[in-house]
Symmetry: C2
Subunit: 469 residues, 2 copies
């Protein structure tokens, strides 16, 4: 199908579906939906704000007839450009589909619309002693639709896994507008696992079933201070080899730590090269047993000291430190290039050495933190997109970081997805036949190539003479 | 592509690839590969026994050129007919690809060929204190290739999940013979989850990466005796609502129990309507805490008595009882129709009542046992395929059992897959759009429709004028 420009008749059709309030056509409004948390942006041709699955279905029916690409978006907090409405496409915002459709505390289950904010769901189900484990740092704004599209995780992923492990069903709209339901309770191919994390390229979500988990009765939260990130990474590898898995095991290097302490107006920790932020949760006995094992292991390693939270207020104080990393780093430089590499835990010390050597060699400021317990580090290169020469070094540095990651048996996308940011590296990770299969799968679900085209897999030249994305 | 008959030149090509010993052409040999654990059978046109991925690749290259359907098989213990070589197709047996290619105890990981028997892997990795959690009752004979193809589980699935949760990578051969590698460590679409459990219809396995788990240091194994299966199911629903999850929680109704006791020459338990077989594992403290919770819950319910294993020998005695269910039931009647229904745990009492009413109404002998902790019951209708009238009642009874299961929000295939046995019921579970997507996915991976055609999704009339399967 030849891709067409957005026609006045298509806009009228959308207005008929949703009323005037559901359709933004002014440039000012459209610009608000042009970006995400990357450096990419592209102004959509129109912004649609449906309020029901039926409206989404009708939107897709019109879009597929007109050959208009549709780009779903939640809060636009993604780090891979998955929600960027390339080439003036239709931005489909779920801000008005934000209802909790069902909550069954006894079954530990809820059904939500895609626009529900993660943090609001947590508050709602928290009243019944339950929580939804995935906790991306963006949880106060990011939506569950976006969380499902990216299979978001967060600090608690070490113990609880990612969004994929909690989705029990999806209601979707196919590329041609047909409504569709996929459940973990039905036989045949596991399309549910395929759809979670597919970045809106295989179907548009309209409802999400989620498994919930009881809030553990007990906790122990502490910081361990090390002379260097490498020594902290040795500690993580050691814990892993002993099979000691806390709920949360996060790292910050010293520049990140100092930056966050400054941001929060706290006293800087002097002489510290890195910290590990650790939380153990469970029954009182479980927490006691695991804490003892952790302390024993740490005491044998070269850490500087321990700081354990003894009250809920102190626990919150430590969590605030961890959660403030992203806003604190945002102030450091005009542009933050956030890479998301992940290696086997035993390879963490080698990865940390490689990162430090790269910063040195390319003369770049790198702030490293992240879900070290998962082997997943966020490597933030601080720069300024306007400095062309420096950006070339940044690109070279990122390429070398990825080479090192692959060499260590890792992936260049621990949790942030592919979108457009990592698209060019994907063939290296999945191989030629893998890319062919990705293309076939994309075609299987979206023959007209209108569902978030160009994300994850490249658009084919055959589609959209208006320009491959 | 038009499906052709097996030609002498194809047989010669296969012999060139594998030598005479790799190719069985005699009827006697072929009959040995014609069946599985269902009542279906179909004699393959030829049996191929490759010994390397490269040979599998060359076999597929020949088969796709000739339009010959290829049906992979492990030990033929499946309950869905997935390994039945329909229409004289090529039976691809992995009995010679049975090597453990890599075992890294420190990484708790191994890589195996598909023909490795589950139980032999357990023995091998057990020497290093590790195990592979999926434990189908067939584990002493069934192969890991078959386990992956069906995403097999077993009694331990309650705590540990199914095969899907342990596969880290797959080496595959695509329908056209191309070699291909899929890993959980690479970005993009989650094809790994899609391929596990796809019953050999999307690609042919040649190597499997598996995550292993440390053997827990402590255990507590016991039987709880109840007046009826319904009362046992109430106990399970109660445990579940309290969030008490043992490692193993299995049920047997009284006819199954008596049958197994007889089979093992043990004293029959009198006045018992059903038993729950329970095992708790973990650290000493974990086992103690969980056992206390279990005992407290059971003591409030209407169970008759408890029998706890105090030695490894007694534990083995209880496990032998559980593992002997299948061989014991095999002696009851000429034909055992084994249904595999699964409902939310809170709906178990209703399911049990429905099963009992069905047995009564249709005048059939039904033996019920299974992974009740997962909500998964194996409903065995004892009959004789030669009795035509009775078989009609059996079919009617199965249909009504499935209706009841769907009504309770469950699935008719808890762990045994679709194959050909459940194919006709699949549209009811996944819907019209779901079936269309299954068809599209099948085509995406296997356009020529030669990979185990007709299993999971029906073959299309367009393929194989020689007859749709």
């Amino acid at each position: 199908m030849r891709r067409k420009e957005l026609s006045p008749s298509a806009v009228r059709a959308f207005q008929e579906i949703m009323g005037q309030a559901g359709v933004f056509t002014s440039l000012e409004d459209r610009i608000c939906y042009s970006f995400d948390a990357t450096t990419y942006s592209s102004v959509p041709g129109v912004v649609l704000r449906p309020s029901s699955a039926e409206q989404v279905s009708r939107i897709l029916a019109v879009s597929s007839q007109e050959g208009l690409p549709v780009v779903p978006r939640g809060a636009g907090t993604g780090f891979a450009g998955s929600a960027i409405p390339l080439e003036g496409s239709v931005a489909l915002s779920f801000e008005r589909m934000n209802r909790i459709l069902d909550f069954s505390p006894d079954d530990r289950h809820c059904v939500v619309e895609p626009g529900v904010v993660n943090g609001l769901l947590q508050k709602h189900v928290g009243k019944k002693g339950l929580f939804f484990p995935p906790d991306p740092s963006s949880l106060d704004v990011s939506t569950l639709g976006g969380n499902v599209a990216q299979s978001a995780s967060g600090p608690r992923a070490l113990r609880y896994g990612s969004t994929k492990d909690y989705v029990t069903s999806l209601d979707l709209v196919a590329g041609d507008g047909q409504l569709w339901h996929v459940s973990e309770k039905s036989g045949g191919y596991d399309l549910l696992s395929l759809l979670v994390g597919s970045e809106g390229t295989l179907g548009i979500l309209t409802a999400i079933g989620l498994r919930l988990v009881p809030v553990p009765s007990s906790w122990n939260t502490f910081m361990a201070y090390f002379r260097s990130l490498e020594q902290a990474s040795v500690a993580v590898a050691e814990l892993s080899s002993q099979g000691i898995i806390p709920t949360v095991l996060e790292a910050m290097d010293h520049v990140t730590l100092r930056c966050v302490e400054e941001f929060l107006g706290r006293q800087p920790s002097s002489g510290v090269g890195a910290v590990l932020f650790v939380e153990v949760t469970g029954s009182e006995t479980e927490v006691k047993v695991l804490s003892e094992k952790l302390e024993l292991t740490f005491s044998k390693l070269e850490q500087i000291r321990f700081e354990s939270a003894v009250s809920e207020a102190e626990r919150e104080r430590l969590w605030t430190l961890r959660r403030s990393v992203s806003p604190a780093l945002a102030r450091v430089a005009p542009t933050k290039i956030n890479e998301d590499v992940c290696v086997p835990r035993s390879k963490l010390p080698a990865l940390v050495r490689a990162i430090e050597a790269l910063a040195e060699r390319h003369g770049l400021d790198i702030y490293t933190f992240g879900h070290i317990g998962d082997g997943n580090l966020h490597v933030n290169i601080m720069t300024d997109v306007r400095k062309k020469k420096e950006m070339e070094r940044v690109e070279q540095c990122a390429d070398e970081l990825f080479e090192a990651t692959w060499l260590l048996g890792g992936t260049i996308t621990g949790e942030h997805g592919i979108g457009i940011a990592k698209r060019k590296y994907l063939p290296r990770e999945v191989g030629r036949v893998g890319m062919r299969m990705f293309g076939e799968v994309k075609r299987a679900f979206d023959e007209a190539n209108i569902l978030n085209p160009g994300k994850v897999v490249p658009s084919e030249p055959a589609h959209g003479a208006g320009g491959a994305v």
